[in-house]
């Protein structure tokens, strides 16, 4: 198994989780113990073993092809923290290039 190194800054960016410097240290130390523990899986020979996709036999489950009522616009928007004119308000992702 690859030698353990956990780049906490990289991981928090991937997971979209902001961590204080105290949390970074604390989580790094605690997870080092956990990763050391789970490394015992190296003892197991899993050559030629397939992964277990599910503990139940999966079958296709279809409902009748009929229109069912879903949530209306009001119900869908009700729990949103910010909305404008019946739209969810989200943070800007693309920058307005060239516009000052």
């Amino acid at each position: 198994m690859k030698k353990y190194s956990m780049n906490i800054d990289y991981l928090s960016k991937l997971a979209n989780i902001s961590l204080t410097s105290y949390e970074k240290v604390k989580i790094s130390v605690q997870l080092r113990d956990v990763v050391k523990f789970i490394d015992n899986l190296n003892e197991v020979n899993s050559e030629n073993v397939s992964v277990l996709p599910s503990s139940v036999t999966l079958i296709n489950i279809f409902r009748d092809d009929a229109v069912e009522e879903g949530l209306n616009q009001n119900e869908s928007l009700n729990a949103a923290s910010e909305k404008i004119d019946n739209y969810f308000k989200v943070q800007q992702i693309l920058k307005n290039r060239g516009v000052k």
């Binding site: 991981l11 997971a15 989780i17 997870l31 197991v44 277990l52």
Partner: protein
Amino acid sequence: MFGSILNVQKEIVKKNIKLQDLVIHYFSLIEQYDNKINSFLTLNKQNSINKAEYFDNLLEKTNSEDVIAKYPLIGTVFNLKDLFLTKGIRTTAGSKVLENYIPPYNSTVYEKLINSGAILIGKVNCDAWAHGSSGENSDFFATKNPWNLGYVPGGSSSGSAASVAAGFSLASFGTDTCGSIRLPANYCGCVGLKPTYGIISRYGVIAMASSFDTVGPIASTVDDVKILFENVSGYDGKDANVGKGLSIRKYTGNKPLKIGIPKEFTEKLEGEVFDELMFTKGVLEKLGHKVKTVSLPHTKYAISVYYIIQPAEVSSNLGRFDGIRYGYSRDYFGMEAKRRIILGTFVLSSGYYEAYYLKAAKVRNIIYGEMMDLFGDIDLILAPVAPTKAFKLNEKVNDPLKMYLSDIYAATANLTGIPSLAIPTRLSTDGLPLGVQLMGPKYSENLLFDVARKFHKEIEFKNMNADLKKLEI
């Protein structure tokens, strides 16, 4: 007041009881004592009193046996772990992220329960997002064990078990991803069922680790757990793992069974928890069953497998909480959720995926194969629920690995999808509940109920309800 759902229903038939009085009785207990135990997050008072009034009127006008036939759970005053969506009633998952979230639709389990005549009196506390073994990871407050307020009730369905043991409700539903129903049931002296994976719909239940997640009842008696299970299981068209025409095996008769105790589950066990396992073994032998030692050699890796796959699935499931459509921003996640999201992101990240996630998924298959082989040889497994009885508040809170290891005997049933019933046995010398778990092949819930019921009858088990008067001291 009446100890069990079935007893309440007997009183309803005899017209000795009004549901309104019953509901008010539970609210008065909650108002008097829950400030010590901290099991409820939200009360559903007026709604439940109105509901009770409706059923009282119905019972007055109609033959009570007809009403019970139509509403098989009438009289069931229950609560839900705050992971089950309840339309119009706040649902928090024990997290600040959802502190003020009011869901626009119902979970299937809630819908089935109220359609069967049960009355929801409130939503109860849990470890945030069901991450925890003690109840102390709730972002609001820690629930306490009603048997001794210095001890944890077990988690993550902490409020569920504590509220049933305290007599605040006849039943609760929790979720079990790795012992989260069985552990608190065990620590609080309740009966708790982790059902076969894919037998009860999880629609509308906030997901933790979807390949392990199950939902199930916690109550005071085996018969109550059985009737709750029967009324919520089965196809709803909304959970891809719950198929049509499930074949829950029927079980009748007194055939002597072959019961195995895996040696890997007892090697490090000591004290009263071990003694109680041996006591249970003795009683089962007296009832005519053959109990022998068996081996599941790879189950010693169960927790490692679980703490790779589970955080991986957690990091994915909690990805939806973006603070845009519902809930507050990701900054509101507590420490444990952050830890699991980071760990899950790590085991799935480029360069580590094969070494961790894929490896764990393979070892999971080895454990699954061992379990299926074992059930070719025996009918049931008898095991401890956890290495210890309830532990003290704050004992493990700063050592996540130690906390994770509380689930060491619970993990196997979740990894393999088999059902497991946690049953209380007796009290320890210091007055805390003890118990065991019975595991069977997939869809063998009826066998577990039957063996557990006969075991309880043999030991003349009386419902374990904590003495609330002691809390006044």
